[in-house]
Symmetry: C2
Subunit: 461 residues, 2 copies
């Protein structure tokens, strides 16, 4: 049963499993104690820290283990902001950071701080110049992920780091998605990651803070992990995390090249096999194992269920699969289609056959979902109608507003407009994206007198 | 090799190990995902929550899993204080709470809040009336442990809870040391605990918040664990924690009775076998598996090393074994001897023979340490001297000041005084404790003109 959601959580690496089992016996005691079980635990902890620091590219005394990548980000952001409180209170983040960074930014804003979000282009990449321009004399910290977790696009970390150095601003790099594949480019001040993304166990994140970076941990502390991560160390899991990081790094070059080719196959074949698909994210500057595409006229949740029934586990940034009723903030920031969104992230060791079977199954699955939703199957016939058309999709969830738009576009004379009334947040993203894919003109939106929003589209051909 | 430090961390229970192994295979995926691996993880998480809630005595939706007992306490205290910010800003705690509670209290005070510490008696117990008296109209939260982690004394939780209900103040009970043995008395509002204390793995704590208790989680949050514990769930460890809690509870009555008898044996035999020992903590209202005693004229760190060489792992609240240079805050609050302090906490399954061997080995170990330190071996001879005596122990670490006091007391005429100059913090606790054990009068302390403190002792006999 192919599991294609490594970006959420990777299955436990065999090396991690082995290390975990060994350290359940050897590393359960308190490493702060003086007796032999404690000394043994301390040795395991020290060795794990050395190994993780080597993989990160920092000194062991710059790195602490946290209970998760999310906690590493929260601690890193709040500690760095507090450490530079006298300099300023601005936090600069890219618009496509992981939610843990954005939640930390929200908490900062709620406490009276200021937050600047740097936009991304349609590939999901920050423009380094724009990032540099956002740094001002009031900026306490900047955050930029090494690569995006939803679309795989790599960020210009080296150039952002140079700009930060120039501006005297520390840079926190969330390396959760890329650390398995290699170290982050030089120049970061703080770095965070999460073990279960690289085949380590849950319950372990890491936070590295370069010597010389002002850092003031917030909240109650204790003497563990240099006062940066209170609470009894999750030692067997830490040992397993460090061991598996070393193991995946040893395999990274070969496995990365193999998965990169499989992802290229998906990127090429999906638009050939499935009509009306947008493959998103940078095709070249990207993570080796991750690809995201969106299918017009498809409900993301149904698509996931159908793929699950066929044996494939993938995730989606469509609003229809989340409890928030809004599409993924990453897709929104990129301005790409969000309906029928599928993220495929291949775990190490993924079989080529499984990818091929996915490609074989996908077209039929998408077609079935579209058929059930009554999606248009052919390009619109030339119109004979007249006058401005209005489609009322109020109260209807994605992808229905786009489906209804597609159904009437044939009735619109070339040069004429159609207005779609919708109150589903996804329409704001998906109607312009549909226009771009279909070569129609997206005119704009205005409040609808009947509630929701009126989206205006001009037929060009 | 007998490990007698279960109160720090218990070795992994066989049931925990088994559950952990099984859920490494079944529970590594993200429980928030819709595909089968995610649904399976969600089922495991739900079942673990049900099991833990049953053991705690609350509803499943009142309980969240945290990365450690410490994090549960920090989250519980800050969330409850924030939830009642409009009522007041006072936090009431006992003086012998776990450091995680006291660290949370320090953070509260640093943020401008007010903290009241309720003292304990010489057994380590809070007096329920004094606890009730500390609750005022400005009190947002009160904290009382179920039983003390250093001396085993049970706290009057039921009476404290009644007083809190009366005053309309929520009560947080840190049940870390007692939850393995049974549920906490009714009446608590928030409850915290830590899995590695009951033979579960590291990396799991729990926080229960009763419905109706005002609670506002602080810091960045996400959608996991009801917004109270951000970050990817440490699922295999959570499953193991819940399974082992159920297992230790099934064994609690029989094993508790067996360990209680072993601890009684230690409590009775140690003062018979070793001269000049104070066994501390309540002899009856106590945890079944834990006993603490202090040995006059002994350096705690050396004692621990000697016991370790004999194969016994125990901990100590002596200042000489910690990096803080002050004795344990618990021993200080109780006003008992801190030098040569030993905490024995028996893990489930401790063999009777190991306890007997400990009792056989201890007298020789203590005698050797005393001999090396030049401690007095006999009661003082009647004095013939005259005039006030001064002992200069400035710059000397515990237990030297007390040893030097004991050596000269024989030179002091009955009714006369001796003054000990000392700058080791432990002397403040250990000189009065020595007086009580020796039937001499502790007159008091004053600043010493030569630095440090002058402790005055009157010879009574």
């Amino acid at each position: 049963m192919p599991y294609f959601d490594a970006a959420s959580a990777a299955p436990l690496h065999p090396v991690a499993r082995q290390a975990l089992l060994a350290s359940l016996d050897e590393g359960w005691a308190d490493p702060a104690r003086l007796y032999r079980e404690g000394r043994r635990a301390r040795m395991l902890l020290d060795a794990a820290r050395e190994a993780a620091a080597e993989a990160v590219g920092c000194r062991a005394d710059e790195l602490v283990f946290t209970p998760s990548g999310t906690r590493a980000v929260h601690t890193g952001v709040s500690g760095a902001l507090a450490g530079r409180r006298r300099v300023g209170n601005r936090l600069v983040v890219s618009a496509v950071e992981h939610s843990s960074v954005l939640h930390a930014a929200e908490a900062h804003a709620a406490a009276g701080g200021s937050v600047t979000e740097v936009p991304v282009d349609r590939s999901g990449a920050v423009e380094a110049g724009a990032f540099a321009a956002a740094l001002d004399g009031n900026t306490a910290l900047a955050c930029l992920q090494s690569a995006n977790h939803e679309v795989g696009t790599e960020q210009p970390v080296a150039r952002a780091a140079a700009a930060c150095r120039e501006a005297g601003v520390p840079l926190l790099v969330d390396a959760a998605q890329s650390l398995a594949w290699g170290p982050v480019a030089e120049g970061w001040s703080l770095l965070t990651a999460s073990a279960h993304k690289w085949g380590g166990p849950a319950g372990v994140g890491l936070l590295a803070v370069r010597k010389g970076v002002r850092f003031a941990p917030q909240g109650p502390a204790d003497e563990r992990e240099s006062g940066r991560a209170p609470g009894f160390e999750n030692l067997p899991a830490i040992v397993a995390a460090a061991a598996s990081l070393r193991a995946v790094r040893a395999e990274a070059e070969a496995e990365g090249a193999r998965l990169r080719a499989l992802v290229d196959r998906i990127r090429t074949r999906v638009p050939e096999l499935v009509p009306d698909v947008e493959v998103v994210g940078d095709p070249v500057r990207r993570l080796p194992h991750l690809v995201t595409f969106s299918c017009l006229y498809v409900d993301g949740e149904t698509l996931l269920h159908e793929l699950d029934r066929e044996g494939f586990s993938v995730s989606s940034g469509s609003s229809c699969t989340s409890s928030t009723l809004t599409p993924s903030h990453v897709l929104r920031a990129m301005g790409v289609l969000s309906e029928g969104n599928v993220r495929v992230s291949l775990p190490a060791g993924t079989a080529e056959e499984d990818v091929d079977r996915f490609l074989a199954v996908l077209p039929g699955v998408v077609a079935r979902v579209r058929e059930r939703l009554g999606a248009p199957v052919a390009a619109p016939a030339p119109a004979a109608g007249s006058g401005p058309l209005v489609v009322d999709s109020l109260g209807k969830r994605c992808p229905i507003p786009v489906i209804e738009l597609a159904k009437v576009i044939g009735d619109v004379p070339v040069g004429g407009t159609v207005t779609v009334l919708a109150d589903d947040e996804a329409a704001r993203l998906d109607i312009p994206a549909w226009c771009e894919m279909r070569g129609q003109e997206y005119v704009g939106e205005e409040p609808s007198p009947r509630g929701g929003t009126a989206y205006v589209v001009r037929r060009l051909g």
